[in-house]
């Protein structure tokens, strides 16, 4: 597609539930990033893929967070046993090989009750 597509746009989960957030990057973009944006804050890095390889997962806040990109295109961010502090907008971004422009999707807003 023309842009980065994320789904669902909104997700309400009960504490303890597992959630999965999907990112469909711009076609052909090699690099894919996940960021977490708390209310009123800047995006904070979670993890980075180059094709299917997860090169950096240093920003994942706990082992409840897991991301994958098995075929080097679509990526899924999974959060297990959600907690209230996981409530945030999860942004996906993609970038072409050798380029520096990061294009963001609109985000998935997660609310944990």
């Amino acid at each position: 597609g023309a842009g980065v597509s994320q789904s669902p746009r909104y997700k309400v989960a009960k504490r303890g539930q597992d959630v999965a957030l999907r990112c469909d990057p711009i076609s052909g973009h090699v690099s894919l990033f996940w960021y977490q944006q708390a209310l009123g804050q800047g995006p904070e890095f979670l993890t980075y893929f180059q094709n299917e390889a997860q090169l950096d997962k240093s920003g994942l806040p706990s082992d409840r967070f897991f991301a994958e990109r098995p075929e080097g295109s679509v990526s899924t961010l999974k959060i297990q046993r959600t907690q209230q502090e996981d409530s945030a907008v999860y942004l996906c971004a993609s970038r072409n090989s050798g380029a520096n422009v990061l294009t963001f999707g609109a985000g998935s807003r997660l609310t944990v009750l």
Partner: protein, 114 residues
């Protein structure tokens, strides 16, 4: 440890005014400094970016000023319009921005009054 510090947190200007948003960074390995604009319910969108080999870059009404020795950079918006009301984020990364992740500031919420 916050690697990119942004100020002010919020800013109100009249239409036609020149809002200025400032950022300071700590890591001297950073060599790519973009500014992103974010409207409510949308993802951040690249506005303008600069490398440390230049001290100023202009694109339309947006100007970045860069001071390498002070490790500071700022965004100026000339002839601001109500449509510029948004949250602005500065960011930084290494390798010219082509590898690794962007480190973002906490954002400045700009309101331009008609």
């Amino acid at each position: 440890q916050q690697q990119v510090k942004q100020s002010p947190q919020s800013l109100i200007v009249q239409k036609g005014g020149i809002p200025i948003i400032n950022c300071a960074y700590e890591n001297t390995a950073f060599d790519y400094f973009p500014w992103y604009q974010q409207f409510p319910g949308k993802g951040p969108a690249l506005l303008i970016a600069i490398r440390p080999d230049v001290s100023e870059k202009k694109e339309g009404r947006f100007t970045i000023s860069f001071n390498k020795s002070a490790k500071q950079f700022s965004l100026h918006i000339m002839d601001s319009q109500p449509g510029d009301s948004a949250t602005y984020f500065c960011a930084a990364s290494g390798y010219g921005g082509s590898q690794g992740n962007l480190i973002f500031g906490k954002g400045t919420k700009l309101s331009v009054k008609p």
